[in-house]
C-alpha cells in the first residue's frame, strides 16, 4: 500500500460526499414541502460532515500544513475524483431521490468494507458515517416506493430519472488504480448493491435494474468529469480564490 494511493482514495471519498452535498444543498429553501426540505438538508449536513472527516484525514496524510479547505477549495476540475453520479444536476425530486438511493446504497457497501479494512482512521470514519448512511438508505428507499408506487406521473418521472442516472452508476464498481492498490473489492460490492436495489425496485413496482444492459460512463474517479462539475466548483470555490490567504 502506497501513501499516494491512500491519499487518492481518501480524496475520492471526500470529493464524492462533498459534491453530492453541494448538490443536495441546492434544495435548501426550495424543497417540495417544508418537512422534506428539512430532511434533505439533514442528509446534506451528514454528507458535508463526512467530506470534512475525509479531507481532514487526507490533509494529515499530505502534511505540509495542508487543510480541509485547501483540498476542497483549491483543486481544479481535473483533480476532483468524485463519482460522476454525485455531480449530476438535481433535476426534479425523482432525480434527486434516484441519485441519493444509488449513492447511499453504494456507500453502505463501501463503508462496510472500510470498517473491516486495514486503515484504522478510515474504519473509524466509516463506522460513524454508516449510521448516517443507513438512515439515508431508509429515507431514500421510502421515497423510491412513494414515487414508484404513487401516481402515474411520479412513476413516470422516477423511471426517467433512473434511466437518466443509471449510466453513471457503473463506474462506482470499476476499481481505479488506487482502489486496486488498497484491495477494495468493487466486484463484491456490486453484487450486494444490485441485490438490495432489485429488492427495492420490486417493492416500488419498478422494472429490475440491470448492470449489463447499458453503456456506462467512466472517468470521475480519475478526474475526467461531465461539464457540470466545472460550474459547481466555480461557484463553490470563488470566494476562497478571490481572496487568497484569508481566514473565514
Amino acid at each position: 500500500m502506497t501513501n499516494s494511493s491512500l491519499v487518492d482514495f481518501t480524496l475520492y471519498l471526500a470529493d464524492s460526499t462533498l459534491v453530492l452535498g453541494q448538490r443536495n444543498g441546492e434544495w435548501c429553501g426550495h424543497g417540495p414541502v417544508l418537512e422534506q426540505d428539512i430532511a434533505i438538508t439533514n442528509i446534506t449536513l451528514d454528507l458535508i460532515g463526512q467530506a470534512r472527516s475525509f479531507y481532514q484525514y487526507a490533509a494529515k496524510l499530505i502534511g505540509n500544513d495542508c487543510t480541509e479547505d485547501r483540498l476542497a477549495y483549491w483543486r481544479n476540475e481535473r483533480e476532483f475524483k468524485n463519482g460522476l453520479l454525485c455531480e449530476r444536476p438535481n433535476g426534479d425530486w425523482a432525480q434527486t431521490i434516484a441519485r441519493q438511493t444509488f449513492f447511499s446504497f453504494y456507500q453502505r457497501e463501501l463503508f462496510t468494507q472500510l470498517l473491516n479494512g486495514s486503515d484504522s482512521t478510515l474504519a473509524a470514519i466509516a463506522e460513524k458515517s454508516l449510521k448516517e448512511v443507513r438512515y439515508h438508505c431508509r429515507w431514500s428507499s421510502e421515497w423510491i416506493c412513494r414515487l414508484g408506487d404513487g401516481t402515474d406521473e411520479s412513476h413516470q418521472r422516477l423511471l426517467n430519472a433512473l434511466d437518466n442516472l443509471w449510466p453513471y452508476t457503473g463506474e462506482l464498481f470499476i476499481a481505479a488504480q488506487y482502489e486496486k492498490d488498497l484491495k477494495i473489492d468493487t466486484a463484491g460490492m456490486s453484487i450486494s448493491w444490485m441485490t438490495a436495489l432489485s429488492d427495492l425496485f420490486a417493492e416500488a413496482t419498478l422494472p429490475p435494474p440491470s448492470l449489463t444492459s447499458t453503456f456506462m460512463h467512466t472517468g470521475g474517479k480519475t478526474g475526467q468529469h461531465t461539464e457540470s462539475l466545472g460550474y459547481l466548483l466555480a461557484e463553490m470555490q470563488y470566494v476562497q480564490r478571490s481572496y487568497p490567504g484569508c481566514e473565514w
Binding site: V33, L34, E35, Q36, I38, A39, N42, R138, W139, E142, R146
Partner: protein
C-alpha cells in the same frame, strides 16, 4: 373596525383582514397533521413537543426525527394523526376539574406529624 394599526415585525395587516376562515378542505397534495411525542431519555415518559405534516406514519416519524430531534432532544418518538386525538371540552372544565380542588386530604401536606419524623 380595524383593530390593529400598529405595525410590528411580522404583523403587517392584510387588506382583507387576514385569512381567518375555517380550515379549508384538504386537497390530495395536503398531507395530514400529526402530533409528535418524544422521550428525551430512557426512564422518562413521552412528552408532546409539537406537530407536523406527513403522508404516512413512517414519514411522520422520520420528519419528527428531523424536525424535533436535531439537537439530540430525544431517543424515542411517538406519532399519532391529530384527528384521532379527543380533547376534553374547556367549557366543561368546571365540572371536570374543580370537584378535585377541595379534596385536600389527598395531599401529604394535609397531615400534621411530629417534627421528629423526618421522612414519611
Amino acid at each position: 373596525m380595524q383593530l390593529i394599526r400598529k405595525f410590528y415585525y411580522g404583523d403587517i395587516p392584510e387588506e382583507t383582514g387576514g385569512a381567518a376562515k375555517p380550515a379549508s378542505t384538504s386537497s390530495s397534495s395536503d398531507w395530514p397533521l400529526w402530533e409528535v411525542f418524544i422521550r428525551s431519555k430512557q426512564g422518562l415518559e413521552h412528552k408532546h413537543v409539537g406537530s407536523l405534516h406527513a403522508a404516512d406514519a413512517n414519514m411522520a416519524i422520520e420528519n419528527a426525527r428531523d424536525v424535533y430531534t436535531r439537537r439530540s432532544e430525544g431517543i424515542s418518538i411517538w406519532v399519532v394523526e391529530s384527528k384521532h386525538i379527543k380533547t376534553s371540552n374547556p367549557e366543561a372544565s368546571a365540572e371536570l376539574y374543580e370537584p378535585a380542588q377541595d379534596k385536600i386530604y389527598r395531599h401529604p401536606t394535609f397531615y400534621d406529624l411530629p417534627d421528629e419524623i423526618k421522612h414519611m
